[in-house]
């Protein structure tokens, strides 16, 4: 068998030996033996089956399709758990809602930075935003067309559609508050849905859009009470920031000022 040294000679002289060498040297094809199973095997099997049964009973939750939790599971709060995210004041929530309305409705024309584009007038520092709320509510409710002068520039080739059908009083109140705070720096008062409901009663029947001359006077304000969460202390604290930030555009979102020149260039 172990004839490594004369392997080549074998190959030269008796090729048939090498030809089937691998088939020749291998052992018989295997078959199954008949050893008995040991008791140990059955004991271990019984143990595994017991564990498996207990597992299924504990975890299957009665084979109920509606239950995603094992029976007896109680969702707990982990120790030291504090809900994630900042806690917003009522006013912040109001402004957030206004921002959401602005992003869906106003963004397309007036731009997110509030600077308008082409024949669409800006909102930033606009006298139409900073001054009376009555005429601002009129514009939002019924829309406006024709020439209008904003910050000394005349606009008018584009018209703004009425929003009274699309937005509820609450939404209009929120978005006006948001625009006045963000682009006008006015933080000491909000517009409530009661005010808008009143304005809708008075102006809601109008069919055509306004022209600039038809609007209410510059200083006419919507009348109504401020909500309870606009307490005097908050007014006092934020009065300062409004004085500082009144003409600097946006204090909440510094990115606006950074982006503004860029958007002018792309125009």
């Amino acid at each position: 068998m172990m004839s490594e040294n004369n392997e080549n000679r074998d190959y030269e002289h008796k090729p048939s030996v090498r030809e089937h060498a691998s088939a020749r040297r291998e052992k018989q094809d295997p078959e199954a033996g008949f050893e008995p199973l040991s008791l140990w095997f059955f004991s271990i099997c019984a143990f595994v089956l017991m564990i498996g049964g207990g597992y299924l009973g504990a975890k299957s939750a009665g084979f109920d399709f509606g239950s995603t939790q094992v029976s007896g599971y109680k969702a707990g709060t982990p120790p030291n758990f504090t809900p994630a995210g900042p806690v917003l004041s009522e006013r912040d929530k109001y402004l957030k809602s206004g921002e959401a309305v602005y992003k869906t409705v106003c963004n397309g024309c007036h731009q997110f930075n509030g600077r308008g584009q082409g024949q669409i007038p800006p909102l930033v520092d606009s006298e139409w935003v900073i001054n009376g709320t009555e005429r601002m509510a009129q514009i939002v409710l019924n829309g406006i067309r024709g020439p209008i002068t904003v910050n000394g520039t005349s606009y008018g080739a584009q018209e703004m559609p009425a929003q009274k059908g699309a937005l509820s009083d609450q939404r209009i109140a929120q978005v006006i508050t948001y625009v006045r705070e963000r682009f006008g720096g006015i933080t000491d008062a909000v517009v409530t849905k009661e005010m808008i409901a009143d304005a809708r009663n008075r102006h809601g029947d109008r069919v055509a859009q306004y022209t600039a001359g038809e609007l209410a006077a510059e200083d006419a304000m919507l009348s109504g009470e401020q909500p309870a969460w606009m307490n005097p202390e908050a007014d006092a604290a934020e009065g300062e920031t409004s004085a500082d930030g009144k003409n600097s555009g946006d204090v909440k979102d510094p990115a606006v000022n950074d982006k503004a020149p860029e958007s002018k260039e792309t125009k």
């Binding site: 172990m2 080549n8 030996v17 020749r24 291998e26 050893e35 008995p36 597992y55 995603t68 029976s71």
Partner: protein, 479 residues
């Protein structure tokens, strides 16, 4: 005298069967080995990409980012290498065990070409960005019918072969091969229908995907690998398998339980609680057939451990069988939430997949290839030391890979469950282990590129012209 004559006839018969199987079996082995080499290189790349995305980051190498190289590597490994090599072994075993020569080898070769075409389209499709992001089903949707038709052709061939068998006891390996023949189409069609054709809710797709992966391991790779182990262990020892009763328990246990597994991965997830529970109990109960198989192999080998030292086939097969047992025990332990919460969403997934596909299946199939190829080509493996290197690089590689991904995954998952810590912690917790895994990958890569070279020498008939086998011990110095 008649005994000798009988033995001579047997030898000629075996040699004739081997000769008839040469073309299809060598075709499957070589193309599988090429895919293996491709897949281990991709495996190395994706393992580095996991922590160093800048590695090989040229604009024209866009297809190597982790999101593409990872599924491409897995697809090439499972479909290109594992199933294809498994089919090659199954064809040879079937011919040997049915004691019938291979007829219509061209059917197999045509089916093999289609299979390779499917895998090629699949891998290129993933590179081009058309992957489906489903684990083990990442090939673009158009590919699965090609693979299914190709596999079905091979199944038809295997069944025809079974019909032509010589009368007598049907050996254990044949059960497993027939099992894998029917189970793959079932598992593959079901998964593709419920993921690609009639997709349900997203969680149902995820559950189907998890079930598919697990069923592929237990109902396709395991039967093919076990068929090989059940043949080669007693064959090389020249003694019968310990107990046919244990073999039956092992086979039917796997057949009944294998298709229930997989969903335990999502325990605690948004699925009806009984789904993970049923899968969990299935992997626990699978310990019974696995124990039966392990005892059967162990008792067969008992007292003949020296052959593990010398015979390449024996050594690879024994290592693969051991890996299968370890895989099943770890799977069963992970079905309990105390361990499972750490293994469901981390690097450990990779440890499980590689332990099954490489540790168990590939090592077993390597063993079979080292036995079969010399009989097909008529020469012996050129170098025993190269086989030894293949074994050690592979086993060191896979053992460290599995340990690193398993332990690293536990750290990673523990960091994930810290709800108040930044997610980045989980990434950095797994990072050192991911780096270690790359080193292990390098070892596997080297060993398998070398294996491809070694196999090519054999296919080109450049092996040793000798009547003695190439062994691992020192009796036969490398030629």
């Amino acid at each position: 005298m008649t005994d000798n004559k009988q033995a001579d006839e047997d030898v000629l018969r075996r040699a004739a069967i081997d000769r008839s199987a040469r073309l299809p079996v060598l075709f499957f082995f070589t193309s599988a080995a090429v895919w293996l080499a491709i897949s281990v290189v991709l495996g190395f790349i994706q393992s580095v990409k996991l922590y160093a995305p800048g590695f090989l980051d040229a604009p024209w190498l866009f297809f190597l980012n982790y999101g593409r190289s990872n599924p491409a590597f897995m697809g090439a490994l499972v479909y290109g290498w594992a199933i294809q090599a498994g089919i090659g072994v199954a064809i040879w075993l079937m011919a040997r065990l049915c004691r019938a020569e291979v007829k219509n080898p061209l059917t197999l070769v045509v089916a093999g070409h289609f299979w390779n075409l499917g895998v090629l389209i699949g891998v290129l499709g993933i590179f081009a960005g058309y992957g489906t992001s489903m684990e083990w089903l990442a090939f673009p949707r158009a590919v699965w019918p090609i693979l299914l038709v190709a596999y079905s052709l091979m199944v038809v061939w295997l069944i025809t072969m079974f019909q032509r068998r010589e009368p007598g006891e049907v050996y254990i390996s044949v059960w497993y091969i027939l099992g894998a023949s029917f189970w793959f189409p079932w598992v593959y069609i079901t998964a593709n229908v419920f993921i690609h054709i009639l997709p349900g809710a997203a969680v149902a797709k995820a559950a189907t995907n998890a079930w598919f992966m697990s069923s592929m391991i237990f109902l396709v790779l395991a039967p093919l690998g076990l068929a090989s182990a059940y043949y080669f262990i007693p064959k090389i020892l020249g003694r019968p398998v310990y107990s046919s009763q244990l073999a039956k328990i092992g086979f039917w246990g796997l057949a009944i339980l294998g298709g229930w597994t997989g969903v335990q991965k999502f325990m605690g997830g948004p699925l009806p609680a009984w789904m993970p529970a049923v899968s969990g109990v299935a992997v626990i109960l699978l310990l019974v057939p696995i124990l039966a198989i392990a005892i059967n192999h162990h008792m067969t080998i008992k007292g003949n451990h020296s052959l593990i030292e010398t015979s390449p086939t024996m050594r690879f097969t024994a290592a693969g069988a051991l890996a299968f047992t370890v895989f099943c025990i770890l799977s069963a332990l992970s079905a309990f939430f105390s361990l499972g919460q750490f293994t469901q969403i981390s690097q450990t997934t990779m440890a499980f997949q590689l332990l099954a596909v490489y540790g168990f299946f590939s090592l077993t199939i390597f063993g079979a290839i080292y036995f079969i190829v010399p009989r097909l080509v008529g020469c012996e493996w050129p170098s025993g030391s190269r086989i030894r290197l293949h074994f050690w690089f592979s086993t060191y590689g896979i053992v460290s890979l599995v340990v690193l991904h398993f332990v690293g995954g536990i750290w990673q998952a523990a960091a994930y469950s810290q709800f108040d810590a930044p997610l980045e912690n989980a990434v950095s917790a797994g990072r050192p282990y991911a780096i270690g895994a790359s080193i292990a990958w390098a070892s596997i890569m080297v060993s398998n590129v070398m294996f491809l070279y070694h196999l090519s020498l054999m296919v080109l008939r450049l092996g040793r012209r000798n009547e003695n086998p190439t062994l691992l011990g020192h009796q036969h110095p490398a030629a």
